[in-house]
Point group: C3
Chain length 486, copies 3
Amino acid sequence: FACPPHRGTTTSSHYSSTNMRLKLPITCFILQIILIILFGVLVQYDEDTDAKKHHHGNHSKTKPDIENDFYYRYPSFQDVHVMIFVGFGFLMTFLQRYGFSSVGFNFLIAAFSLQWATLMQGFFHGLHEGKIHIGVESMINADFCTGSVLISFGAVLGKTSPVQLLFMAVFEVTLFAVNEYILLTHLGTRDAGGSMTIHTFGAYFGLMVTRILYRPNLDKSKHKNCSVYHSDLFAMIGTLYLWMFWPSFNSAITEHGDPQHRTAMNTYYSLAACTLSTYAMSSLTAHDGKLDMVHIQNAALAGGVAAGTAGEMMLTPFGSMIVGFLAGIISVLGYKYLTPILENKLKIQDTCGIHNLHGMPGVLGAIVGAVTASLASKEVYGEGLEKVFPEVAGGHRTASYQGGVQAISLAVTLGMALFGGLIVGFILKLPIFGAPRDTTCFEDSLYWEVRKPQSHFSYAEKKIGTSFSITVLFYKQFLWKTNISD
Amino acid sequence: FACPPHRGTTTSSHYSSTNMRLKLPITCFILQIILIILFGVLVQYDEDTDAKKHHHGNHSKTKPDIENDFYYRYPSFQDVHVMIFVGFGFLMTFLQRYGFSSVGFNFLIAAFSLQWATLMQGFFHGLHEGKIHIGVESMINADFCTGSVLISFGAVLGKTSPVQLLFMAVFEVTLFAVNEYILLTHLGTRDAGGSMTIHTFGAYFGLMVTRILYRPNLDKSKHKNCSVYHSDLFAMIGTLYLWMFWPSFNSAITEHGDPQHRTAMNTYYSLAACTLSTYAMSSLTAHDGKLDMVHIQNAALAGGVAAGTAGEMMLTPFGSMIVGFLAGIISVLGYKYLTPILENKLKIQDTCGIHNLHGMPGVLGAIVGAVTASLASKEVYGEGLEKVFPEVAGGHRTASYQGGVQAISLAVTLGMALFGGLIVGFILKLPIFGAPRDTTCFEDSLYWEVRKPQSHFSYAEKKIGTSFSITVLFYKQFLWKTNISD
Amino acid sequence: FACPPHRGTTTSSHYSSTNMRLKLPITCFILQIILIILFGVLVQYDEDTDAKKHHHGNHSKTKPDIENDFYYRYPSFQDVHVMIFVGFGFLMTFLQRYGFSSVGFNFLIAAFSLQWATLMQGFFHGLHEGKIHIGVESMINADFCTGSVLISFGAVLGKTSPVQLLFMAVFEVTLFAVNEYILLTHLGTRDAGGSMTIHTFGAYFGLMVTRILYRPNLDKSKHKNCSVYHSDLFAMIGTLYLWMFWPSFNSAITEHGDPQHRTAMNTYYSLAACTLSTYAMSSLTAHDGKLDMVHIQNAALAGGVAAGTAGEMMLTPFGSMIVGFLAGIISVLGYKYLTPILENKLKIQDTCGIHNLHGMPGVLGAIVGAVTASLASKEVYGEGLEKVFPEVAGGHRTASYQGGVQAISLAVTLGMALFGGLIVGFILKLPIFGAPRDTTCFEDSLYWEVRKPQSHFSYAEKKIGTSFSITVLFYKQFLWKTNISD
């Protein structure tokens, strides 16, 4: 059965530049083959995963290795995995005619970034006898790095081809790994949930890319840059999965024991408080008090971003709730007042408003983390200080020095993101990647076979044939003539 | 880009009473600020979560604390969390024009109830040196209490403002905590999955509230109180997540070891049997044998409710399947025959049919629990008796006494729910909460910015301009004139 | 409130044969009652689940049994459970008018198959003193068997009544258990993720059934055998959950420790590589380079199928990625070129293209497994050899003999599936099961109450009354008369 594809006025088969038939396959194949070769040369199972190296063997073969990292990290890994693919993927389906691309390109660049991040992060985390050792922690870290790429995707959503996105991912993953290496390894920064490394980096990188890719005539497709009723419901699937699993995200690679539990709990209360302030602000800033789905879908998540750095610290539920409360307020205000300014004055066309969900809350999270770190003390953390601030516990640093390092890390991240986004933006501007024209932005049918929409109405019409329409018309005419005096 | 909001005939900007611009922000802000203050004064991390108090320290810092409750409860917690936000949220999206409110108000009142329940349950569970200690178990319990509020939400769905719902949650959470305290702490009732504390309480509380809020002219909006094709599919997302994770729900706070496993397994088989009887009854009670989505979405879950009390007991898979089988039958019969009676005779307008999904199956579950408890014996439970019935194992009670306590607990719960619902119903009836008018029930656009629907048709129409419509009309006219004799 | 059901031209209340009012209830009730009786006679809790038998008792009652299988398997079980109900269920919602049946019949036959598989697999795995002992592993295995039935469902989707599907499940579960018994118990085959037992078996069984049920006039309903925009988005929910949780699926019942971790990781990298080759091939094989949702929804999952057998072996990430890469290519080519041949030449009407997602990738997985097994050695696996190839480690077999056994197992599976499908196909062809007519295939309203679709347009029309339409018409007439010269 051949379902007829929809070839409306928006198809672009005559624009050779946006035809992906060679560009996308060649890009995917080359990238994947390079990945396979590099994995063959460089990558090995880690101790927990390799059949030979695995020697915790005081347990019988049918008993679980009860101290094995994998068992304790795997459920968190799966939660993070759901956030990356369903969370980010569906959050971006809010556009009325861009659902395939939102979910589908999210899927594609995530699948690529996961592999590439394994290599890049493994390289910077250090080789073992020339090899990258991978395990459950590397899988989580790769998902984290992918999250950062998907945040940037949100800024350029609807205005970029899949080939552009893949190249953006190539560069962004690399820079992410460098920035992460500088922060976590060199500076000794604490950033378990990635307020800086993931959110601030991804947001400002993406904002700079979309600035460079500025389209003065984007209003030609502005009627498609809107949601419809069902697309907003699809987007809520993404929102809820991000919201529910954010405690797993922030705690996924914290130290086992109390830091992990504390992080999950702090994030949970930050998100809950953020949700109430988001609803309040959304209603308050509307002239008729009506809630705006854009705020609910996005700003309610800002509490998770803002708890990313300090989540593992002794922030207390009280502190977490204050942070989340403020994050929700800032985020809604950003959507309402700052996004139009960014667009009109600074020429930053931020499709998903990542500046409000990841940018400002990420910076807030970094600042909260710096302040909380500078207040750390043996009195508050006891023996647990070593798990959260090993440098401070070991006497190599004072708490306020650690706080200063945290603040510097934010500056480094912002610099890396903006400078990286600048370079990558210009690369992506090259007219070889098949970017959509201004009139065909936010439109799936440019890159996807979109079946001819068969509404219930048109379906019925087709079934019964043209005579149906005529009957309707006749009926209406008749009514018109007889009832026109009503 | 300004997406034009839809201002159809149903907007209510001229009804000052339903304008939420001040009511909702003020309510949210005051509630959240009170929560933050109370958390600051009263709440502390528990031992597993606090950096200082955490002294299981015979493990190195990178090894998991293998006996820590958190690791074993956290995956269950996340399953329950998904049920609360995605399960309940999407289950209620079945209404054609109330999807934003179903998911969105569910989200709002859940985020509030989680925090408020932490305080209320913590207070009744007992303070430690003036403080409430929170951890993974308190997070699960807060989700449970929230579930009860969301059940009640199902009864009043479409007929209440978000401010009404928040106030309902304030009172219901408090009463829930009191009832739970009486049952679990004072009476020594066993109710791990909450057939009584969660489902019976939430259902009869909600039914009484909707009785008090009875709207004689609700049929003015009855054409919106229906599902459409896609809204039923969204609702199935909710159904399936509730169904799949109900074993985690019922077992989330049971004792570790065999009780937890048994509860999960009993619930699993109860649900499977319930599903088959639901399909059978749905087809049997339709005049043309066609299945009804309302039954599938709801009645197939009744087996989980009915296994809530006895799930942890030695109910056996055989017994579980009988319970689930009956629950499915009762629930479909309720939807088919009892709901219209409740509405027409008792003036109980139960939007989601919570009486059929939570009310009757909850009572069934309580009765099954009472009977199963009264049959408990050392022969059947062995050493395990202590984990399920510590009072019986300790010799303080006979099994039949425990069964009597279970039955009394049901009566107490029903009394608390009905009396509480009565009071709260009258409070919510005060004309200050911005309740919708009879004509604007079940309508998102009252409280939400709803973008102007852009169907594929109207989208094409807009693109090509008005001339398109005229061409169509001309074409139809032409056809009409030439083919009218067909 | 009575929502008027939609009685369009496609309802079939006058076709007595497809009326399910007696057939479906009787089938469900009889099957469920048989299940309850057999469970009552045959089934017992296993040691980990029974209150009495549970004697790991060196832990206090509130501490988890840290070596208990349940805790380590339960999160994987829930992931598999999600794949069965949400993954398979929503993957099949791509059809425009068959979403209720896709999700709903998936739900029904899964709920039945879970119970029946527990009995059949328990029977073949061996009775303990005349009883089947059930626990978390039996629950996972039952989900696996159910997965196989749902694969076959994909081939006959849209062309079968729920009664046919239930009878198909009765026979297929039985044959699945026999085949699994021959392979795993008699031949000592390794197939943890079920490339053979689940995917190859389910696919070729289903293909043979749909061959026997061949409908020469199926093109009468071909206009319904297509997707629409929103149905493709719903299907992506299924795809993503299958993709994300496939690592849990393949590793759910592998040995604890390194085999489980390795399986999850191999599957993860196989899927990632498969996704890139799927996108590449989908674009490459389209004349205008546009991606096809059918490929993305299905072929991107082939990497999980192909890693089903060798996933637990020392396939290495490098090998896994090659396998996934090839699986994606094969699968897209199958959809593009083989499916039309199967349909036109071999009269195999494969609605979901299960031959491309489960058939060929399953065979590929079996071959990869045979080759990888034949290369197993003490040098590579060390002490771990016993966990993966106990027969080889014990000296009872050489590695190449194990490889031969794996190859033979594929042949046995193919034979069982094709022969079983032949017999069952003829049984299902009996004109007593209420199969749909050729004109009413792929149509929910045959078996479901489908509410009258209320589009935004018709909703507005209804609200304002007929006068609205007339006003519109009048306005258009007016425009027509005044602007016709444009």
